[in-house]
């Protein structure tokens, strides 16, 4: 019998190991799986490589994970935003590594990783410092660089509704990186505001099919990062 639901976020992230590569969904606060991230902080895994478009804000969620010293390296496109002070400080002190990737290249590298494509070519970043060290190549007289697919040991994502097979639907612009990260994670862990029985989601509107999802945990009223930051919350 297939039932991917686990009773708690703690159990869902229990086996994330030191040194793991962890993809974390979200663009800014939209789609950020805060409760899973906080469970990961509690769990204690360190020396992580984290893939996210940003680096969090305030001292909750991803920013709190970074502040706790658990992240050795960030792979992201925009590690700078309002209320983002944790990453910049560590970065300036040389205490965290950064791999800066153009946003579309990051999205496509993650999809490629999940789709069994080891590398692809894109014109993005040609002639810029973000192409340094990358293979260049012409196709039809236009310049491209080669980019590698990206996979993760674990992906942590958030969705609006999941069934116990792991079929997912999302909420508005909170969808963003979650579907490709679900594909690219060897173990994809989902926090869903609602968990339903198979059949309760119309098969025509499933965004992420259950085959890409290993674990589902219900977080009925997920926190919003901006509200926690505005309230001055610092996790833990």
């Amino acid at each position: 019998m297939i039932d991917k639901q686990l009773p708690s976020v703690a159990e869902a992230v229990a086996d994330i190991h030191d040194g793991a590569t962890v993809m974390i969904g979200g663009f800014g606060e939209a789609g950020s799986p805060i409760e899973l991230i906080h469970a990961l902080i509690d769990q204690g895994a360190k020396n992580l490589t984290v893939v996210n478009n940003n680096t969090g804000s305030g001292e909750v969620g991803l920013a709190a994970l970074i502040k706790a010293g658990r992240v050795a390296k960030m792979i992201c496109s925009y590690p700078r935003s309002m209320n983002s002070t944790v990453f910049p400080e560590l970065y300036r002190n040389g205490e965290i590594e950064l791999e800066l990737v153009p946003q579309g290249t990051l999205a496509e590298r993650i999809r490629a990783g999940g789709a069994g494509i080891p590398a692809f070519y894109t014109a993005t970043a040609v002639g810029t410092m973000l192409a340094d060290g990358k293979e260049a190549r012409q196709f039809d007289d236009k310049e491209y660089v080669m980019e590698r697919g990206l996979k993760a040991d674990f992906s942590l994502i958030k969705c609006r509704k999941a069934d116990t097979y792991g079929n997912l639907i999302f909420n508005k612009t909170a969808r963003n990186f979650a579907p490709p990260m679900a594909m690219a994670g060897a173990v994809t862990i989902v926090q869903a505001a609602e968990v339903v029985a198979p059949g309760a989601i119309d098969p025509e509107i499933v965004v992420t099919p259950g085959i890409f999802v290993e674990r589902v945990v219900q977080v009925q009223n997920p926190a919003h990062e901006s509200e926690l930051v505005a309230a001055g919350v610092s996790y833990p």
């Binding site: 999809r111 097979y165 594909m183 890409f212």
Partner: protein, 224 residues
């Protein structure tokens, strides 16, 4: 060669049933056309498998009742099917991302030939008049975690389908994990074909004689 009886080894349904025993609960499975399709009927009680059809459906159910089929709900063999509760529809690139990305646990395919190194030929006889048609076979054999072959042990002409090297055009290199035939279950190992199980009433020698490459006996049992 030992004396032919009118019927020796498993029939097609028995072969499908034998494969079904080896598919773990909760597996995501893609079944080829022919004998593999029959496997769904023999899944042991208590096991739940989810069937993928590469034309865009995860959670494929059985054939529809007479008169209830839909021309736009079909499987990769273009036959009308149904969808189970918890199914999902998706586009082709996503479907093959599942395959190529290593998300499917198992596929079961037919074969023209399997070589002792796991090479598979199952898409073309290479004849000068044959219309070449590959479909999703080459994607499945490189992407799916375990590749099972189910096939008659020999061709209609009595030639072995398990061979030293494939003479037909290849589908993939070293991709087959296990072979189920009417006569035996055989693993592909670094040492070559390794017998796992004989069908009832079939002897090791009978199988070995009909296998086109050396067949290693079951290590812990006496070959009968």
């Amino acid at each position: 060669m030992s004396q032919e009886r009118p019927r020796i080894g498993l029939d097609r349904d028995e072969m499908a049933a034998r494969v079904a025993q080896d598919i773990p609960d909760g597996s995501y499975v893609n079944l080829g056309i022919g004998i593999p399709e029959r496997i769904t009927r023999f899944v042991p009680e208590g096991r739940e498998l989810i069937y993928h059809t590469e034309n865009g459906l995860l959670g494929m159910g059985p054939s529809p009742e007479e008169g209830e089929g839909e021309p736009e709900l079909i499987n990769a063999g273009k036959r009308q099917v149904t969808a189970i509760p918890g199914a999902s529809y998706f586009q082709h690139p996503d479907s093959f991302a599942m395959i190529r990305g290593g998300h499917l646990d198992l596929c079961v395919l037919g074969a023209l030939q399997v070589a002792a190194n796991g090479d598979l030929a199952n898409w073309s006889t290479g004849g000068p008049d044959a219309i070449p048609a590959v479909g999703g076979a080459m994607d499945l054999v490189v992407g799916v975690k375990s590749v099972f072959v189910v096939t008659q042990h020999c061709t209609k002409h009595g030639d072995p389908k398990l061979v030293e090297a494939c003479s037909y055009p290849l589908t993939g290199l070293g991709c087959v994990d296990r072979i189920y035939t009417d006569l035996a279950v055989i693993d592909v190992t670094p040492e070559g074909f390794q017998l796992v199980e004989l069908s009832p009433g079939v002897s090791f020698d009978y199988v070995a004689e009909r296998t086109g490459a050396p067949l290693l006996p079951i290590p812990t049992a006496t070959a009968t």
